[in-house]
């Protein structure tokens, strides 16, 4: 048997908690509605003023009074909306405005915070508004992966060799998101990274170069030829496959010769990549060498060989049609399948 007081006490506690939750729940809803009602016209007005000012910066300063009166949170929101859509002089104008309104200083001070999420917020703002190297470079080596990734995103706008070297070193980052951000930044930097990336590819091997090879494939610069040829002999099948794909973006007799050799590689993924690469290069003399791969033990190799033959055009189609009568049922089936595919696929 329990005393009545205990039940009453529990009831009171539960009611009090429930009432508090309901008050916060509904109160937040009401506040949100009012806030939206209040901020919407302000934002619209400020957005219009900012857009007009962007069109005519000389006259624009007068128009910006509405913008200046906004709370910082809304100012940041507008900057975040506009900044990714701008480039060149307009972006610089926006960055100057942010500096004038002390938003950049505020963001930079956040970058120095001890709390990771404040540093992240600061880094995101600096990426949008622009900021000093001295603040952002240390963040490339931050202990929190999200901050490192954000700093890598910022680095796109700073194409100097020191930044590129740090980014290349970060290609081996243990954190996937950081690696992804670094790869993406290197890709966005484009031509400026080619030389250093070539040196990186020449100096490294094995799993260390995987991320760098993926970048090189997308950049497709002829200077990657030598490291690609070397890496096509790497001990890891994954690296050989990527090297084959890289060779397919470069072309040339040396690339074709290497790819032809890779068609006999013991690893199926390498054979498939080599076949795909020859198809991509539309190197029609390779057609007879691709036909045996239609009889390969591995489905992916057969499929890539079939697709490669299709990519070669008329000579490839000729071999595919012949393969329809192949004694090997797998080859005949694959040829039928490839010939049936619509052109768009």
């Amino acid at each position: 048997m329990l005393p009545e007081e205990l039940a009453t006490w529990v009831l009171c506690v539960e009611c009090a908690i429930l009432a508090s939750i309901v008050i916060v729940f509904l109160g937040h809803g009401l506040w949100l509605q009012r806030y939206k009602k209040w901020s919407h016209p302000l934002l619209t007005q400020a957005r219009e003023a900012l857009t007009l000012a962007l069109e005519d910066p000389t006259r624009g300063r007068q128009l910006l009074e509405t913008f200046r009166t906004l709370p910082v949170r809304l100012q940041v929101r507008l900057f975040a909306e506009l900044a990714p859509t701008l480039s060149g002089a307009q972006k610089q104008w926006l960055a100057d405005l942010a500096r004038e309104m002390c938003l950049t200083t505020r963001a930079e001070s956040r970058c120095r915070s001890r709390l990771w999420w404040r540093r992240l917020q600061g880094a995101r703002l600096v990426t949008l508004l622009g900021g000093r190297n001295a603040v952002m470079l240390p963040l490339l080596l931050d202990r929190h992966p999200y901050v490192r990734a954000q700093a890598a995103e910022w680095a796109v706008s700073r194409q100097d060799s020191a930044v590129i070297d740090i980014l290349l070193a970060l290609l081996g980052d243990p954190d996937g998101l950081c690696r992804f951000a670094v790869q993406d930044s290197l890709l966005r930097m484009g031509g400026t990274v080619i030389e250093r990336l070539t040196s990186y590819l020449s100096a490294h091997s094995g799993s260390e170069v995987k991320a760098a090879l993926e970048v090189a494939i997308c950049l497709a610069d002829p200077r990657f030829l030598d490291p690609a040829l070397t890496l096509s002999q790497d001990h890891l099948p994954q690296i050989r496959s990527l090297a084959a794909t890289l060779l397919s973006t470069l072309g040339g007799q040396q690339a074709v010769n290497t790819l032809t050799t890779l068609l006999d590689d013991p690893a199926p993924s390498v054979r498939a990549a080599a076949a795909q690469a020859l198809g991509k290069l539309s190197h029609w003399p390779a057609a007879p060498m691709l036909v045996p791969l239609l009889r390969d033990q591995v489905w992916e190799v057969r499929r890539e060989a079939g697709l490669a033959l299709r990519a070669l055009g008329a000579p490839g189609f000729l071999f595919l049609r012949r393969a329809l009568n192949d004694t090997n049922q797998f080859a005949a089936d694959m040829a039928r399948h490839i010939l049936d595919l619509p052109h768009q696929v």
């Binding site: 048997m1 329990l2 005393p3 009545e4 205990l6 039940a7 009453t8 529990v10 009831l11 539960e14 908690i17 429930l18 939750i21 309901v22 916060v24 729940f25 509904l26 937040h28 809803g29 009401l30 949100l32 509605q33 975040a80 990714p84 999420w117 992240l120 917020q121 995101r124 703002l125 992966p145 999200y146 995103e153 954190d175 996937g176 998101l177 992804f180 951000a181 790869q183 993406d184 890709l187 993926e214 970048v215 997308c218 489905w299 992916e300 499929r303 089936d333 694959m334 039928r336 399948h337 010939l339 049936d340 595919l341 619509p342 052109h343 768009q344 696929v345």
Partner: protein
Amino acid sequence: MPETWADTIRHLLVFLDEAILVYFLMVNSFYALILIAAAWEMWRQARQIRGASRHVILGSKVTPTISILAPAYNEATTITESVRSLLTLYYPNLEVIVINDGSKDQTVAVLMEQFDLIPVHPIYSQKIKTKAVQTLYRSRSHSNLVVVDKENGGKADALNVGLNFSSGQLVCAIDADTLIEPDALLRMVRPFLLRDDIVAAGGTIRAVNDSVARGGRVVEVRAPQNIFAGIQVVEYLRAFLFGRLGLNRLGGNLIISGAFGIFRRDAVLAAGGYARDTVGEDMELVVRLRREGFEQRGPHRVEFVPDPAAWTEVPESRQVLSRQRDRWHRGLVDVMWRHRRLFFNPRYKGMGLLIYPYFFFVELLAPVMESLGLIGLVVGLLAGLINLPFAILFFLVAYGYGLLLSAFTLLLEELSFHRHESIKDRLTLLGWALLENLGYRHLSVIWRLRSMIKYLRGRTEWGAMTRRGFSNPTPTPKS
């Protein structure tokens, strides 16, 4: 003096009620732990995504490819809209595979007409054994659309066929009638970019009933007016924003909803795909992936990401809902039995020591304990064996706390995503949270008890689902 039979029964009854009260206290304490973990995780994830640009993933050439697997069975009326919404998702490297699981209606004919499909020779690499594929179609208008027509074999078999045909690094399993938010994949792929040891990630499923959907997109969120749908909105929020998010922090999830989940394709293929002999194939796959990951010292993490949402229509009639819950609970019992080796097994760390026992004691046994407690309480009160304060305390611990959890989940939703715009909708949701404990929960106990009996008898039927469809939502006046 020797104890009489009546005394023994009386003592037993009192002991039972006290034991069940202790059970509820322990369960509630664990819930409190999950609650704190969920709030912490929500805070952490909100900090991570606040102000983040998704354009980086969208515009990147190194984003992993995703194959969406959409099994369809008799979906002729909704399939066009569903597939169109899938094809227009914001994601750079996307492949959509629709698997027609032997539909008896015009599903394939509709697809052929709408997406300019042509049959191609149906060969593929059968990495997982499935029922026979009849025809393979490719689209002339959408190069990334593949339609597979196969013999009927159930959802798991259809998903396995999809896995055989898929080429993406990641596969996203959905129900063909699920509406996915346009940027949901960009958000869901984040854990896979972040860590290399993730095998699966799940997102939030929300109830679409009474909300307005246009062109395969939910454009206005409203609280359902139907009692069953309304209570399920609260249930879904509690299950996802509170349960799965909290478990994320405490040792990982064992469930990813079959309606929307992303998996690492090579891990699923290595695990042998979906099990066909269970009605809880989605949970079974996740548990197996995690278990094999632990055993082979490979990747085994499962993440829950709260912000990407998929919308599904929840049952509005008692019969359909009871069939659905019956199937879910049979699935749970089956998975618990298949993977009983995990039970308090330190080899599987948090999964074996905390998460599996939680699912066993809380999710699986809850209907048994709750029904025993209620029966004991009623009998005890009638026989004068327990006093009213005890009965009140029992209700407060069992149901009052449940109400608090639901209310807290609504608050969590309000502070994080606030999808329901109007105050009227918020009040409606509070009403449903309150009503859940006044009858609905008891119905749910009966359904789940029945499903346990069915499982023990060896019944494995799926149970038919009826849906209203997304195209014609019943408009309700806005407040």
